[in-house]
């Protein structure tokens, strides 16, 4: 809930606006204010002497959080679940670590932290609330002193491995061992080189079925920001780290070099190891720097989006929503705006079992809309269901959309209620890309399903393109427009049936 605009007042204003427009210039509610009706935001107060540039968050038993920071502290946070959060208490568990961007608790007293140079586990052995043992679990990668060389750590996968996503040295090259790779760290500390082609990760996590994903950012070989799948032996786009295949003895030779200036759809047919991205976050349309990932495993406590992913954007200080599906064994899907108006640049996202989404922020070094240097916020579901696209699935001849609310069959069944275009990005060694190969095929038909909550759109599909769908004319049964009338579907594969 936006504290500056209590809901009661908001309603009051809405009722009065038609009457008062001639005397007052009441601005229409901002998107953040409209979103806050469904997903109110609580800002946790941070003591003045703490710089909480939250690099990673871990939920601990007993309604406790562990929060690690870019400055190398790990805090234990009590009272984070209070509403209002007026009894929040921070205890410093560890300090002096090197930019901790991954955090996990094994439940047996160890807290696992991914630092720039190693995965570490820490433990309080004397019960004073501070770590006394700081153990190196694995450090089998290089670090040379370039600030780009970040390391993002996941929670363990289904086999108990922590995945570490390693940023390149700068944008273009890999000067130190396994920069630009994802590695798996086994419970006993072995390092398994797993996926090459990473550029500048912003977060790493599993989806609802336990497959690993990370976000990568616009730059060389990345025309926009992406959510990309990580699989052993795969290559996800940036060839800067190819030289380390010589050290990755579990894998074969390096893949073929991609051709700069080509397209992803072309290169993935040339390069067998190429794992195409699952989601495109179109640059400057939905964010500019994709970051942390959280899966809604709460079975409805966070609203209607069970098993969908939520992805932060640092520059735009917002959280996006992602629906994934697998077609012919390849991940793809749609992203949607979800909630904006966070206080700082969103970096770390963590879902709690009670349906809280904790979001940590920082704008240090990279400006962010939020404007605060750092923040820790908690997003809740108000219990009201926003009118949104729920899922967007590809069909052989178009898309099937389901919605969170029953549809007005007249507007939803009218192709003129939709706008559609598709485009892609140049896959190239230089920085970013404009949108290219644009097309605007017509929506040939829009058919509302018998359940009254779904629509089949018949439209030409183009593999390797963003399919941007706007729905300005679609209304719910109760005549509401969509809270976010836009979807961006990245298409790798077209299903046969």
């Amino acid at each position: 809930m936006n504290p500056r605009f209590p809901r009661s007042l908001h309603r009051f204003a809405c009722l009065l606006v038609p009457l008062l427009t001639t005397i007052l210039t009441a601005a229409p509610a901002s998107l953040a204010e409209r979103e806050s009706v469904y997903y109110p935001m609580l800002t946790l107060p941070i003591p003045k002497d703490i710089v909480l540039e939250a690099g990673a968050i871990q939920i601990l038993p007993g309604q406790r959080l562990a929060v690690s920071t870019r400055l190398g502290d790990i805090y234990l946070v009590d009272g984070a679940f209070g509403n209002p959060p007026d009894h929040v208490r921070f205890t410093r568990f560890a300090s002096g670590l090197h930019e901790v961007l991954g955090l996990w608790s094994s439940g047996d007293g160890w807290i696992y932290a991914t630092q720039r140079g190693e995965v570490t586990r820490l433990r309080d052995t004397d019960g004073d609330g501070r770590a006394d043992v700081v153990e190196t679990v694995a450090d089998g990668w290089g670090i040379g002193g370039d600030y780009h060389e970040y390391a993002f750590g996941s929670k363990p996968d289904r086999d108990g491995n922590i995945w570490v996503a390693l940023c390149l040295t700068g944008s273009f090259t890999s000067e130190n061992l396994f920069r630009g790779w994802a590695l798996r760290i086994t419970p006993d500390g072995r390092v398994i080189p797993t996926t090459s082609g990473l550029r500048s990760p912003g977060g790493i996590a599993t989806n609802s079925v336990g497959d690993m994903f990370y976000t990568d950012n616009q730059g060389p070989w990345n025309g926009t920001c992406w959510l990309k799948p990580l699989k052993p032996g795969g290559f996800v786009g940036h060839p800067g780290g190819f030289k380390w295949y010589a050290q990755a003895t579990n894998l074969g030779a390096a893949p073929k070099e991609p051709v700069s200036g080509s397209r992803i759809a072309v290169e993935r047919t040339r390069i067998p190891e190429f794992l195409p991205p699952a989601i495109a976050f179109p640059y400057n349309k939905l964010g500019q720097s994709a970051s942390g990932i959280a899966n809604d495993f709460t079975g409805g406590k966070f609203g209607p989006f069970t098993n969908q992913l939520f992805v932060g954007d640092q520059t735009w200080s917002l959280v996006m929503r992602v629906f994934l599906e697998q077609v012919n064994g390849v991940y793809q899907g749609a992203c949607f705006p979800f909630r904006e108006g966070f206080a700082s640049g969103c970096l770390s996202l963590e879902m709690a079992a009670d349906g809280s989404l904790f979001v940590g922020g920082t704008d240090r070094g990279w400006g962010a809309r939020g404007g605060q240097p750092f923040a820790l916020q908690r997003l809740l579901w108000s219990g009201k269901t926003p009118f949104e696209i729920h899922e967007m699935r590809v069909r052989p001849d178009g898309f099937e959309l389901t919605f969170t609310e029953p549809l007005d069959p007249v507007t939803a069944g009218n192709p003129a209620s939709y706008q559609f275009e598709n485009y892609t990005y140049i896959y190239q060694s230089s920085y970013g890309s404009p949108e290219v190969d644009k097309a605007t095929p017509p929506i040939e038909s829009a058919t509302v399903g018998p359940d009254g909550r779904s629509v089949r759109l018949k439209v030409k599909l183009t593999p390797g393109h963003v399919h941007e769908l706007k729905l300005p004319g679609v209304r719910s049964k109760s005549a509401e427009p969509l809270l976010h009338p836009v979807a961006y579907y990245w298409l790798n594969e077209i299903p046969e049936r």
């Binding site: 998107l31 190398g72 090197h98 190196t136 700068g170 809309r369």
Partner: protein
Amino acid sequence: MNALPFRLSAGVFALLGLTTLLAADVPVAVPVPTGARMDAGELLLGELNCVACHAAPLEISARLQSRTAPRLGTEGLRLTPQWIRSWLSNPAASKPGTAMPDLLHGLPAAEQADAIESLTQFLVSIQPAGAPDAVSADPARAAIGQTLYHSLGCVACHAPFERGAASAEVLAAATARSIPLGDLARKYPAGELARFLRSPALHRPSGRMPSFNLTATEASDLAVYLLREQLAGSTAAKSAPVGGLKWDLFEGEFHRCADLARKEPVASGTTDRITAEPARRENNFGLRFSGGLEIATAGDYTFWASSDDGSQIRVDDRLVVNNDGEHGGNTVSGTVALTPGFHSLEILFFQLGGGFEFSVEWSGPGFQRQPIPPGVLKHFARPLVPLGQGEFTGDPARAARGRDWFAKLNCGACHAGKGLPEGRPATPLPSLKAKATRGCLAETVSVGIPRYTLSVPQRDALRTTVAHPESLASAPSPALQVESTLTRLNCYACHSRDGLGGPVAEGRSDWFQVVGEADLGDEGRIPPALTGVGAKLKPAWLNQVLREGTKVRPYMATRMPVFGSPALESLPAQVRAADRNASAPADPAVTTRDAKFGWKLVGTDGLSCVACHTFAQYPSLGIPALGLGTLGQRLEWDWFRRYLPDPAALRPGTRMPSFWPEGHAVNDSLLGGNTDAQIQAIWAYLAAGDKAEVPTGLVRGRQELIPAGEPEIYRNFIAGAGSRAIGVGYPEKANLAFDAATLRPALVWQGSFMDTARHSTGRGEGFEPPLGDHPVSLPPGPPFAILPDGDASWPTETGTAAGYQFSGYRFDAKRRPVFLYRFRGISIEDAFAPKPGDVDMTFVRTLRFTGASPGPVWFRAATGTVTPGPEGTWLVNGTLRLRFRGGAGEARIVQGELRIPVAVPGELVEEITW
């Protein structure tokens, strides 16, 4: 002509087509952006300067903005006779793509030969008096010039000679679409080319070739590179005074200028400016500048050397200024009487560490204290000599006949110059209507008529426009006027506008570079688009940019050059007419209260614009995005107010995010979250430019990490301890940095622990040195080795490659970390306890070994100068005192290293005192 297939397929010239040319003929090179709307005939009328002979009414000649021929005579250049001869005999063969017509075609051979020789004599006779400046045949200069050529912007128009990031195909295409350079090595004495590069518009007044505001050194470096074919032949040339001083760089710790003589230089080169720039480092170097001064006027000359640390100036081997020794910044002067002529000059300077200053000035008869100008600095070296150089004897009679030829061939119609025969008019342009397929545009050009190398489409385009002069009568729209100017000056090589041109579309973006590591994407290297520029930039700023060039984007390697073209005088008005929205609101009336809010919004307490944008001399907290201080001077209010809410709409692809998405302010605490009020406040604040109050958050203060009561840990990039350093500050004011990559204490120091500001502001770039005093480095390399023979050479491999594995640390009861690591089956615990003395500090280091070793283990405690001291101590490098307890036997010195045998399991106590 190897490149010919590419020339024939060249896209940029595609509009003017090349299909039916003879293989040897490359048509006039006129770059046109793909998709251009302007009339090709009109473009060619201007680029071939047809109106020089075929007079046109003012309104037509004004819109043609004709490209005029180079000036000759005293305003010309001293070009070599051998080149003038070959040029006159066949311009298109000498420089394929040239706009110079062949005027001697079809003449009887004897007559042609007479014309060429007489004209050459005449043109040489009217060249400026004096010899061109000599430039040294220095391959180092060529190397610098090569970098300049490929980064400044030269290759936006001319052919790149190195591929950089481009593919071979892209390079070939760019080469084919380039403005030809011709046979420079035969044409130019190097000093003359450098002179041209510094002020091209003096010699070519229509400004197609712009000035890049080159320094004298840059111009000479570029000239040496462009004339690199002269390097080989110049090894035989006799030494002569050439421009600039020779510099030699020395590396090492120097305490007096005389120390430089004991070292060999690590690099050498030539420069026209006496600065420390050649050092390219901050500390521990020395520079020697040597050569001489070319003195024109006799009198007393005074020299000043300001330096930190020492410097000396010698003239004619006499020490005139002695500012020697280690010291802070100070100035010493000395005076010497000099006669006209050459006097040797030597300047020495060294920098040890700490503060830095170095400048040299002089004064003399009739001039005040100032830096020594480039023109008088010389040194003896082999000069560059143009290719084909031979004896040339002036023949006044022949030159007079050349003058007659000049008049007869009507050269003066195109080539202006003081005292040259003027041109004669031909049929005026509007009257050529019926003759559009004759004369210069005939299928076969008659003897005596200038023959241009035109492709068929070029000739057809000209014929059409000449046949319909009425098409030139109606004034073009402002948009078309702008397109015409941008096409004629090839602005499209660097800038796109309304979908035309730009480095990406022109296939040359690979050569546009960013300076250093600025993480700015394409915005950091590709010059800005000019779409809507007339609504964006203030006319006064645009005028200034066009007149003086600019460098508001210091991260961009290319420079906005100065064209010096009269055509640009009307450009600001034209873009304004084309782009400006008539209903644009007037600048808002702003108050100091607005500016105060703007100051808040820009700083870290507001929207944190300074996270990316620099301000005045302060770097931003992140990327070095465009300085905010220039904004009020450059931008129009109407553009600014539309840009901020949706930057990508006006600058597609920009990384600048909106802080007012959909018009809603994300910061609702300032000015009530009112979007318009916030934008206006920022505008009001930035109007004061660099003089405005510095935004909060930009000035980085010291952030000292103080161990209070118990030790503090600082794992980060620490100078001297590597990228996996673990700093430990103890409340006893003893500090160490343990290197977790090589498993050794790398540094110890006293006093303050660390300043964390570097790593806790901005992106945290770089290595931070210890904050305190008395830093001492401990031995590098592997600390332990398994050596059957304790006298064997110490291994060099470190870290995991040598069998080490870091295991972390645990805290003891005093919260002191005990480092844990393994080495080939041995587990090691490494604990440090500080023990303050009266002035010295001691770490009592306890190494505990468990497990089993595969052989005898040795610990290398010190390297360098190790001598036994009193009471069983060892003195190391005059900075450290070591003492040992435990171990498996006697310490020994092997190859200058102090080695201690280690018992496994067992314990070794090392007292480190410094």
